[in-house]
């Protein structure tokens, strides 16, 4: 802010000069004005003199003869001569010194003429005094002197040369001339005093005007400075407003104000954008504003406003807004009541912020947290399952293996056949359960291959029809141009079967089960809705039933392990958890869409691959191939080791066995000619993978087959078997074992095996 201007004249010389300049301007103006006044006055006087002469003495007589009186001619001619030069000068050069002196002389002469024309009337002499007073208008005492000189000269000259014309006597003393002039001087003296006073006042006025100008200049300069300052402040304010508006736009934060008395709501640009109002919309009533609020949230907002007005506490709200294009956004509003001096609520001032992204992020975070918790839970279960599976699969291998051998050796009519078969079935179910435990906890070893999903479903069609029963119609809709996926076909079959069983259970009175496949492209827009999937091409497998559907509560816990709605003893709670685990482990995702009494659709997304599909190996499942090669069996579990020794020994192979890796390495050093090393993966001191690496280093031609029920990431990354490894999953049957061994031995090299199986060995 500028300080109040004070009048400080820095340059007194300039001020004095300006004062004089103004004084002279004023004086010149007066002089010019007075000259113009006299120009008219003298013309008027001339006409007056002529008129006076015509009136008073129009004619002169001699007896009965008459002629125009000489006074008339004197008035016309002499009056004209007297008037001419002063009027000319006053008109032409009104400001010149000579002009006003000429006027003074002329005016005095005109006085003399008028006095003569009126016969020397004493009253006419007042014209002299009046003229002097008017001449004083010039504010120039010298002019009065000129006039006085004329008067005095007139009296002196005439008093001297024609005293009778002045004093009525033929002779008169000189002092009489001074007496007459004295009265003129008397007036002139006072007129001069008045002129000096007037000039003094003019100087004072000029000085004041100079001061006024100085002050005006200071004020104008101050105004100019202030204007510049205001302009700058306005520009800064506009910038600030622009920054604020930009900030509001970035933060999606707008402001608003509600005039409660007049029920008018006004808003900032960002608020207008957030609520989808048009630029020409400048104010609405509150009810009109609330039309944008989601119908389900209107009551909440109104109640909040009423509560804030009642309690005069800050207003807080979170509500949805439905924009004209139907898009919904979530707004967070805050406001405070403004009261007048009487304490009445007159205004509400607030902000509103679009928190949709925040809310979605929060929701995603919650989902992530849920997933994390789920993952942690799965990890715990997986660790448990993995720990159990290793030993459990060994046990089941032994049980199943001996059952299988017993059934082969026993006579078909033996009563033990049935018992042993039951034991084997129980063993298989236990193995399945173990597999599922590993599956949902994603600890199983996947052996994916490029496949056509339509083929997988097609191969399962008969089995599925038997599984769901006759009351349920199975409809299959394949996309003929379906892309390929890379997945473990056995696990996929497990998923399809689990979901089909669930669908069957959801349709106790029959219904329709639809399995369909299609290609799907997840773009950014779809990614926004399907947050778990990355952008890309997918193959979609959908399994839909029109059964009882699910509630939201059920959907929330759907994929949790051990969660079941089938009642105690009817479900393990592992089916969907297993599906979820398999699909997630395969790089896909599974979504469920369901409403109570409207059916359920599971959508399984698997990443599409451009690799060629691999041909499935076809072999007779009952034949146990034989051989005579030398095989070293390394297994820390003696029961499993003995089983393997028996099975392979019965098949003609030359067997040596070892219960640990170090012993196995010793045996190999002694006899480096083993054709195959069949080794467990998880062993104390040294794992099967380490052993494999050392054998490859010592005996590159020795083939190695790994076997395990649970690898504990020793062989796999994220459940997928490492490149170049041949693997036999526990529990295995004698047939599986002999076939896998024969297959490995028959392959000319590991590379050939890999080529044959697309980098992985088919699980036996």
């Amino acid at each position: 802010m500028s300080s109040t201007p004070s009048i400080v004249f820095k340059d007194t010389v300039a001020f004095s000069n300006r004062t004089i300049e103004l004084f002279n301007e004023q004086r010149q103006s007066i002089i010019r004005h007075t000259s113009r006044l006299f120009s008219w006055l003298m013309i008027f006087q001339w006409f007056f003199a002529v008129g006076l002469a015509i009136w008073l003495s129009p004619r002169t007589w001699a007896g009965m003869d008459s002629r125009i009186h000489p006074h008339v001619w004197f008035a016309i001619v002499l009056g004209g001569i007297i008037t001419s030069l002063p009027v000319y000068m006053a008109r032409k050069y009104p400001g010149e010194t000579l002009t006003r002196h000429t006027v003074a002389v002329g005016q005095m002469l005109m006085s003399g003429l008028l006095i003569h024309l009126t016969g020397g009337r004493i009253e006419t002499h007042f014209h002299v005094f009046g003229s002097l007073a008017i001449l004083a208008f010039y504010r120039d005492w010298k002019v009065l002197l000129s006039a006085t000189v004329v008067v005095c000269a007139d009296h002196l000259l005439r008093g001297y040369f024609w005293p009778q014309s002045v004093y009525g006597t033929l002779e008169a003393p000189i002092w009489r001339s001074f007496e007459h002039a004295g009265w003129v001087l008397f007036e002139v003296v006072f007129l001069i005093i008045a002129i000096r006073k007037s000039v003094s006042e003019m100087l004072l006025v000029a000085e004041r005007q100079a001061k006024q100008e100085e002050m005006n200049e200071i004020i104008e300069r101050t105004v100019a400075e202030r204007t510049v300052e205001l302009t700058r402040e306005n520009a800064e304010r506009r910038k600030s407003e622009a920054r604020l508006a930009h900030s509001q736009q970035i933060a999606r934060l707008g402001s608003w104000e509600w005039d409660i008395v007049n029920n008018k709501v006004t808003w900032s640009d960002e608020t207008r954008r957030l609520y989808g109002w048009r630029p020409e919309d400048v104010e609405f009533s509150m009810d009109t504003c609330l039309e944008r609020v989601h119908p389900d949230d209107v009551k909440k907002v109104k109640d909040g406003l009423a509560e804030a007005m009642r309690t005069r506490q800050p207003f807080r709200t979170e509500h949805r807004v439905v924009l004209p294009d139907g898009v919904q956004r979530i707004m967070s509003g805050r406001a405070e009541i403004v009261a007048n001096e009487s304490g009445e609520s007159v205004k509400m001032v607030g902000t509103v912020q679009d928190v949709t992204d925040l809310k979605q992020t929060e929701q995603a975070l919650r989902q992530s947290e849920d997933r994390l918790m789920q993952a942690q839970k799965m990890e715990a279960v997986g660790r448990l399952a993995g720990g159990v599976a290793h030993d459990f699969n060994n046990i089941l291998t032994v049980i199943g293996g001996y059952c299988s051998m017993s059934l082969q050796t026993l006579d078909k009519t033996s009563p033990l056949q049935k018992n042993i078969a039951e034991i084997q079935n129980a063993s298989d179910r236990a193995a399945s359960l173990t597999r599922q435990l590993l599956a949902f906890s994603r600890k199983q070893v996947l052996q994916p291959q490029v496949l056509q999903l339509n083929d997988v479903v097609h191969n399962m069609e008969k089995m599925l029809r038997r599984l769901i029963g006759e009351d349920i119609e199975l409809s299959i809709a394949f996309d003929s141009s379906l892309g390929r996926v890379k997945a473990d076909p056995g696990q996929l079959e497990q998923v399809i079967m689990n979901l089909s069983v669930n669908a069957r259970d959801a349709m106790p009175r029959g219904g329709k089960l639809t399995i369909g496949t299609s290609n799907v492209v997840i773009d950014q827009k779809l990614k926004f809705r399907n947050r778990t999937l990355e952008v890309g091409e997918y193959v979609l497998l959908s399994i839909t039933d029109n059964g009882v559907g699910m509630t939201d509560e059920v959907k929330t816990h759907l994929f949790e392990p051990f969660y079941t709605t089938k009642g105690l003893g009817k479900g393990t709670g592992l089916g969907l958890a297993t599906c979820y685990g398999i699909i997630s482990q395969s790089g896909g995702d599974i979504h469920v869409y369901s409403e109570a009494n409207s059916g359920t659709t599971f959508k399984i997304y698997l990443p599409r691959t451009d690799a060629l599909a691999e041909a499935a190996a076809v072999a007779d499942a009952s034949v146990m191939p034989a051989g005579n090669e030398s095989i070293l069996i390394v297994e820390d579990d003696p029961a499993v080791r003995r089983l393997a020794v028996v099975i392979l020994g019965n098949s003609g192979y030359k067997i040596q066995e070892s219960n640990n890796a170090f012993e196995a390495l010793t045996l190999i050093r002694r006899n480096p000619g083993f054709d195959l090393v069949l080794t467990d993966v998880i062993m104390p001191q040294m794992s099967g993978k380490e052993l494999s690496d050392k054998i490859k280093a010592q005996c590159p031609h020795t083939k190695i087959l790994l076997m395990s029920g649970y690898t504990d990431d020793a062989l796999a990354h994220h459940g997928v078997l490492d490149e170049g490894l041949l693997f036999l999953e526990k529990p295995f049957s004698p047939v599986k074992l002999t076939r896998k061994v024969r297959e490995v031995l028959d392959a000319h090299s590991s590379t050939e095996m890999l080529r044959k199986n697309g980098g992985k060995l088919q699980p036996s």
Binding site: R59, G63, M64, L78, S165
Partner: protein, 204 residues
């Protein structure tokens, strides 16, 4: 500049010369004395006016239409006012023959008639003027009660010019019984006679 100065100087010289010349003409005119005939030194009896035996008698001859006479009448008024009633005044206005009375009864007549103690009469065809030797309007004769002429001439300082003058002062002095050296003054005014007569009888 010089040219302007010269031009102005010439202009002012011309102006002043013209004015000077004009003033000279005016003064010459103003101071041009009127003619006067020979005034009888003793009162002429048997006329329409009579001598006042108790006080001085003043006779003024006037042209009823002469503008200059207004000044003479004005001075007469002042004179009578100062004489304190010691003067019997007569103003005789020229009336041409065959002219109606209203030719004579002008403003000057009214003015004279309005002066207290003044007797106004017509002087048909200048009959009395001729007898008393009056040829110029404003001509005054002043007689004492015994009929002796004490003063003759005008009572204005110049033609048609009011104000103190020697004639007026002399008459007042005489009326008040004082002595005065002035017994005769010039008279300024229109001629009472025709132009030709006037020139023929011009005095002094």
């Amino acid at each position: 500049m010089t040219k302007l100065l010269l031009r102005r100087t010439g202009l002012y010289a011309l102006w002043l010369f013209a004015i000077g010349a004009g003033i000279v003409i005016v003064l010459n005119y103003e101071n041009a004395r009127g003619s006067a005939g020979s005034a009888p030194s003793q009162w002429i009896s048997g006329t329409s006016i009579s001598l006042d035996p108790t006080r001085d008698t003043l006779i003024m001859f006037a042209h009823p239409r002469c503008p200059c006479t207004r000044a003479s009448l004005g001075e007469l008024n002042r004179l009578l006012a100062q004489s304190d009633g010691r003067i019997a005044a007569h103003v005789l206005f020229f009336r041409p023959p065959n002219y109606p009375a209203n030719w004579t009864h002008t403003e000057s007549w009214q003015t004279a008639a309005a002066i207290p103690g003044v007797s106004v009469q017509e002087d048909m065809n200048d009959a009395l003027a001729r007898k008393f030797g009056a040829e110029t309007s404003g001509y005054v004769l002043f007689y004492n009660p015994q009929g002796r002429l004490l003063f003759r001439g005008g009572i204005t300082e110049s033609r048609g010019h009011a104000g103190d003058n020697a004639g007026e002062s002399a008459i007042i002095s005489l009326a008040l019984g004082k002595s005065t050296a002035v017994t005769q003054t010039p008279v300024y005014g229109c001629s009472l006679l025709e132009e030709t007569n006037s020139q023929a009888t011009a005095a002094q």
